[in-house]
Amino acid sequence: MPRLLGVDIPNDRKTVISLTYLYGVGPKVARELCLKAGVSQDLKAHELSDEDLSNLATILERDYTVEGPLRRQVQQSIARLRDIKCYRGMRHRAGLPVRGQRTKTNARTRKGPRKTVAGKKGVKDLR
């Protein structure tokens, strides 16, 4: 299987699809990449020549932030919000939704698994 930018090994699906396995590359960027590198979108990833791969890699490095650098960038933005103790930063710290979603119910992605509180209304019914 071909490797792009070190660790990532997209499988043998269409090039446009397999490129999206990279962090920071979605359908849109994948399509742009194929056009810029002059690679057919319908080619399976394992059919790509070494030349195609190096082309893709150089364009990725040059024009896009992906993988490690992108992760770092995201982390830094969050760290900034935390540091200036603004509302969004505090929500990040508390592990609660940041963009004004309800927290009376749902919000499980941010809050993690339910922590049942004994004696709270509704707990008896669950028994």
Binding site: R80, D83, I84, K85, C86, Y87, R88, M90, V117
Partner: protein
């Protein structure tokens, strides 16, 4: 929905004039304000604000990182002291 960029950032004129006045006078005494919706512009950096949170005024020294945020983002309106507390007895 975010504000149209055509209009530019919302900066409370009163707050802005006050900052300018203090800048001219060269002092940095706290500015008491209720204008939580006012965007922090680069001119505010280094000034101290007392931002109303509905009950009292929260003190805030504006740093460069805060530019582009609203004053209200730094004065929480809710106090959450945690749930439960039977164990604490």
């Amino acid at each position: 929905m975010s504000r149209s960029s055509k209009k530019g950032p919302y900066v409370d004129p009163k707050v802005f004039f006050k900052v300018q006045k203090l800048e001219e006078a060269g002092n940095k005494e706290p500015i008491k304000t209720w204008s939580r919706a006012c965007t922090i512009v680069p001119e505010f950096v280094g000034h101290t604000f007392m931002i109303h949170n509905g009950r009292m005024h929260v003190k805030l020294l504006v740093t460069e990182d805060m530019v582009g945020h609203k004053l209200g983002e730094f004065a929480p309106t809710r106090t959450f002291k945690g749930h439960g507390g039977r164990q604490k007895k």
